[in-house]
Symmetry: C2
Subunit: 373 residues, 2 copies
Amino acid sequence: MNRILLILFSISCTHCFSQEKDGITWWSPINDSKHVIEGQAWPNGVAEYYSRLPERVANTLSKGVYNLGRQSAGLMIRFNTNSAKITVRYTVSRKGGFGMNHMPATGVSGVDLYTFDEHGKEIWCAAERKFSDTIIYDYKNLGATKTFREYRLYLPLYNQITHLEVGVESKSDFDFLPVREKKPIVVYGTSITQGACASRPGMAWTAQLGRALDLPLINLGFSGSGRLELPMIDLIAEIDAKVYILDCMPNLTQVTWENLGIENEGAFKERVLKAVNRLRSKKGSIPILLVEHAGYSDEYVSGSQKDRFQKVNKLQYQVYVQLKRQGVENLHYMKKEEIGLKMDDTVDGVHPTDLGMWHYAQAYVSKLQSLLK
Amino acid sequence: MNRILLILFSISCTHCFSQEKDGITWWSPINDSKHVIEGQAWPNGVAEYYSRLPERVANTLSKGVYNLGRQSAGLMIRFNTNSAKITVRYTVSRKGGFGMNHMPATGVSGVDLYTFDEHGKEIWCAAERKFSDTIIYDYKNLGATKTFREYRLYLPLYNQITHLEVGVESKSDFDFLPVREKKPIVVYGTSITQGACASRPGMAWTAQLGRALDLPLINLGFSGSGRLELPMIDLIAEIDAKVYILDCMPNLTQVTWENLGIENEGAFKERVLKAVNRLRSKKGSIPILLVEHAGYSDEYVSGSQKDRFQKVNKLQYQVYVQLKRQGVENLHYMKKEEIGLKMDDTVDGVHPTDLGMWHYAQAYVSKLQSLLK
């Protein structure tokens, strides 16, 4: 669906920009003439309104990655309203499984709302929620306010939104806010980057980081598929970023090598090297941050698990050192120890819970604050 | 089912104490002559083997509380084995909904395994898991060990186990360990005590506390029903405890008062007073810890939510002060500020994620360490 056509449609049909019923006025981002979906790098090129990847790469990237790109991880909608009640109603493509067995529906298919106090301090909002054909999040306790207040609505981490509306009291004012013009943080990564297994979208480490630094963030995390693929690097290089984060080691341990045609350690290092060089050659001096595998939380009992992440971390670090020696500037590195993931930080040994996501976010905030200053 | 009959049955039928097939020997706690279910205060009085409450109170307590008592929250099985692989297979009563929309199946219906290194440091174990008619947790990466190693298996927080077996390599040794004889920590509380919304049973704050202090713990948390009821207080008083924790304020905010026949603030205070006095009169000087409502995580945006928890905390604290003035000894109090629950610590404004559970546990560990020294 082409955004230009959508805008023309919305101009020719202003009565459907919002709809009032039972004292609630419903607002739909799809009918807004502005680009209001933050975290979306190719708004004019998506096949579906809430996709993360442009339609033109449907055949360039693997089908798996492209389909994961339909899931709304990292997408966020900002709006101003003075309504004391907000209802979000939406439909998703996968209705059969709103959750996963290690991640609740609130994280997989739920939305998450934050606002800000008069000092800019973030405030989380609680909802009553209902998961059915139409998912409903009802925010009833927002307090009466006579002034506008900015809200940020984070979209589902592991499902695809097909339709979404925001309802507010008809007597109140409402405005979707345009995507911020600041350069975004761009993250290319794995399921952990996509958001598994946060309890709600706002607790994905990327969302926490975006709020902490008050910067837009493009989440290019793809479950099982963060593999430093050059077509994805080329795509990323199209974005004028504040910083590029490459956090792919959890999907590049040796068990994946055969399928990816990585024959040996040398070939693995070559893959990392090519990814960094390609990005650097296309995007001048924009900072690139390479991130290590944070470890498995059963590493204390399983020697084999420990070997798996230690190996790729060692090899990636060697590439980093080599590139630094070659004079590549503005290349940065975050070690496992800096991430500081603890034994009890994951639900399954791999995917962080909110506790692990919080540790991840702390590490990234600290790293980026020093890197971007 | 009576434990004596079970023991007689297992003595007359030693061949079913364990069963070997395909190189795995299956061990069933129900066939062990020892009491091996830790966290169970009335092992000889339960109607179902994995219940928390004795059958005789089925009509004394509300049906809701008694049914929640069938759920295995806080139950834990200890065993020694030198097997490098462990499989846990079990069935639960509610197969239709292994999870809840804000709590994954791994927490609601899953098990959770910890072991210890040679210095007694706890080590978490990762499993492959399958939720179906029989739930299977497969622990494959435990490392080869020639010595015995102690394991602790935490049972589901929000489901009822109907049958459970532990499978180990047939060549290995295996022994269920008897319930530890140390006096337990006894907690009477709400859904938060029962374990909502931990990602896995070992992350419930009670489980974290039990490990940190290396003490048995009796979890008498009942979702929506931690209401300082005298029949429950009488029951608790039967347990020779190390300390009694009364953490019921989240289920006693004013919205519950009408249903409970609490007419006003005075009646509310009377309820707290009676509970403490009853427990104190029956159990001499065993420490009692009263705990405040930790707050709602949308308190920053919702004035009404803030009022709800502030009111009961204020009233409970007045009772505490009154009792202290009257000379009641070994009565302790933990304030909201000591719990220190943060805005992003819950999934829904009420129930802690692993992040919130970790904050809860930290507070309790610190409080009990000072209280019990």
